[in-house]
Amino acid sequence: MTGVMIALIIVALGAIGWIIARARATRLQAEVGRLATNSRPTQHGWYVALWTTLPALVFLAVWANVTPALVLDSVMATPPAQSLPSDDFSRNAILGEARAIASGRQTVAFNPQAMELVEPFRAAMTRYSTTGAILAAILAFACGAYALSRVRPSFTARSRVERVVMWTLLLASLIAIITTAGIVASLVFESMRFFAQVNPLDFLFGLKWSPQSAALGYGNEDAFGAVPLFWGTIFIGAIIAMIVAIPLGLMSAIYLTQYASSTTRKWMKPILEVLAGVPTVVYGYFAALTIAPALRNFAASVGIPGASSESALAAGLVMGIMIIPFVSSMADDSIAAVPQSMRDGSLAMGATTSETIRKVLIPAALPGVVGGVLLAVSRAIGETMIVVMAAGLAANLTLNPFASVTTVTTQMVQLLTGDQEFDSAKTLAAFALGLVLFIVTLLLNIVALRVVKKYREAYE
């Protein structure tokens, strides 16, 4: 926490520098007149504040990253460290424990040797953090003084400050690229490790999914066939959910845009949007608690075999409800984009409103609607909580909607939330599934956006 304190002190110094520089620039401006000054007093203030804070904060960040190694070196040089065991694993365990106690995260040591090392650790940490704080303060003062000495009427503070602002904006927008690269890198890297243990073809085309048996030491063959997962995902997300969402979403959009009075529209649209704002964990709980038992009882009463309390239908139905507002707003947009002249032409020929909608508006808006549906599918197959709570864990290849199926996302949660070593094929499999999910949703989005864009251009 001391690091945060020092950072706050430096920011406070920056604020003081801002006030001093602005006061000095205001005085100078009063002396030489406004037209003779290059920059406004505030800009001089910002110039000094930036010089005071930025180098010192950068130094602190670097310092925080290099000190742990330096602390370790100085502790290893002390006498108690000489008696540490030579193998890396137990030595690191003792050192880690000593460090945790010294920094107050832990109070008692499991290992008696760690207690002896606490004092050297504490001493070294205090030494280095004090040094860092003093150096940072000196840096802040020195840079601030340097910047303050440059406050002159002719000094171009404005363009210098603005250059920093532009760089900040550019850096902020680069974070999106870094995040994308981070996602791709982590997925690809961990998947490569997985595919070093399991043949990619077995993974993509295998019909048997039982990672538990692999974890129990029965070998990785035949344990990681992901086809049942892909089928479950498609069955729930792309088939059942869409059977619910497409008619309801499309008809809602048509009714609200073409028939409803403006009052109805004003009230119903936000209500439908609330459906999209309900957290998925709530939908999942609703599916598991209310819908799934009802469906199982129904299936049992009409004699459908294999009815499970965790059915594909329960998860798919609720997921479809969740997707309704999404489909509805996409359909709304694409219907609104159809030129008014086409609608007027059809109505002028004597067609009723519904004939105009079915024969003119929908065909014209179809590419946009299809694009919207593709986006909805991509959202549905990436949806996690509903299927985790309502779809079950049995990897079945079945067409029976009342049976239990499992999905890619369910298995990812399942594989990564147990107490597992990170290197096992079981945990790495989650990353391979993630990679497949990422690629599929990406492709769906690219295709959907292209379809929508092409269609928009056709009417512009």
Binding site: S173, I183, Y255, Q258, T353, M412, F438
Partner: protein
């Protein structure tokens, strides 16, 4: 071929009789078309109605279960202290009451009282919290130790359930026996709002999870808002049209569509395994959610900035502002309501998000509210998920009650967003 006949007919107006609109066939046809029209319209209305009633059903069923979670059944237990196995040194009670009462054998006192009054052991009758309630009562008034007194103590999960809905047969029988004696009462369950996770449904609370959510949201907002607004400003106002800008735009649009669980994998692989940040901490949760929320803010921000008319920029440039001054003095203030609306919507999504946080280990059993950003914590949606997995039937109402709290937060945030949008949205 049909085209040919149509052409023939239209090409020869004299050969085709005028349409008889009053004729039987035509009237039937029009009636059919009009009823198709009504059917279609009715279908549309049914779709809207069905969607809205799903929402109503969801909310009503949550409310029906959840409101019971905010009350706690109490049993009036007569306790005869002088005859109970209580071990209290009155002097020690003055100096160190907590410690003294912790050693005072109070569970045995309750057990004896429960057996004497109702003939059942304490664990069947009273919640684990009852001992705490008894301690508080003694600290508040040590005088009760001298004689006989009747205290209202929280009932066990079984009794609670039997009173509120339907419990096991034995519990139902016990509850009706208690009810006949007039020993049952109900009060607002304040400990649900100030407690944390626990093993017994009568003692759990949501404050721990709520505090975890708030800490996580602070990190998310602190990271995603500046980054999102800055990227939106750069892309909309300054970025040159080149390959890099295209790459940034494509990344942002893709990130907005990446399933949330993938962000969890990113957090696990980068923040936990490479950067070795603490597991289960609001810090890591907030960072992960910030990456997920940032594209939402960027997209909303760009739309808001785009809506500011160019004449304002031209006017500012014309009187000598620099491009940075144009943006920070004029464009940003005008676009801010739109950006805030997008931010609130993004934050509401992040607040309801569960899957990525499961990936980074925020599903541990946390019985203490987190003290800071690096303490192990859980968040409200994950707490709901964890309770929904509990087998104890008393957890159903607690889960629904937690859902009510979460929905209240989300609906408030969304209402604020809609209000902001309506109040400040300008048509230029």
């Amino acid at each position: 071929m049909s085209g040919q006949t149509a052409l023939d007919q239209s090409g020869d107006p004299a050969g085709r009789p005028p349409t008889d609109w009053r004729g039987e066939a035509m009237r039937r046809r029009i009636a059919r078309r009009y009823s198709a029209e009504r059917r279609f319209r009715w279908l549309g209305f049914a779709a809207v109605f069905l969607s809205a009633s799903f929402l109503a059903f969801l909310l009503v069923s949550m409310m029906a279960n959840g409101f019971r979670g905010f009350t706690q059944t109490e049993v009036a237990v007569p306790i005869d202290f002088p005859r109970s196995p209580v071990l209290i040194d009155p002097a020690a009670l003055q100096t160190n009451p907590e410690q003294t009462l912790a050693n005072a054998n109070l569970p045995a006192v309750l057990d004896q009282a429960s057996r004497a009054a109702f003939g059942v052991e304490e664990t069947r009758l009273l919640s684990p919290d009852a001992v705490l309630a008894l301690r508080k009562a003694i600290i508040a008034d040590p005088g009760i130790l001298a004689g006989q007194t009747t205290l209202r103590l929280p009932a066990s999960a079984g009794i609670d359930l039997a009173v509120k809905s339907d419990g096991s047969e034995a519990d139902e029988a016990l509850a009706s026996q208690l009810d006949e004696n007039g020993a049952l009462s109900s009060r607002f369950n304040a400990s649900f709002l100030i407690g944390s996770d626990g093993t017994d449904p009568t003692v759990v609370g949501i404050w721990g999870a709520l505090k975890g959510s708030l800490l996580t949201m602070v990190i998310t907002l602190a990271l995603s808002f500046p980054i999102g607004v800055f990227s939106a400003l750069y892309l909309e106002e300054y970025a040159p049209r080149n390959r890099w800008t295209d790459l940034i735009e494509v990344s942002i649009n893709n990130l907005a569509a990446v399933p949330s669980i993938i962000f969890g994998l990113l957090g696990l692989a980068i923040f936990l395994n490479v950067m070795h940040l603490p597991r289960s901490a609001p810090l890591v949760g907030g960072m992960t959610l910030a990456l997920m929320t940032m594209p939402v803010i960027v997209i909303a921000g760009r739309n808001a900035i785009k809506a500011v008319p160019p004449s304002i920029r031209d006017a500012a440039l014309g009187i000598g502002s620099s491009p940075v001054q144009v943006v920070f003095h004029h464009v940003l203030p005008l676009a801010l309501p739109g950006i805030l609306t997008g931010t609130i919507i993004g934050m509401a999504r992040a607040l309801g998000e569960t899957a990525p946080l499961l990936m980074i280990g925020m599903r541990a059993f946390i019985s203490q509210p987190p003290g800071g950003f690096t303490d192990p914590a859980t968040v409200l949606p994950v707490q709901i998920f964890l309770w929904s997995d509990e087998v104890g039937r008393g957890f159903i109402e607690k889960t629904s009650a937690a859902i009510i709290v979460l929905l209240a937060f989300l609906l408030t945030m969304n209402s604020i967003a809609i209000y902001l949008r309506n109040k400040f949205e300008k048509k230029w």
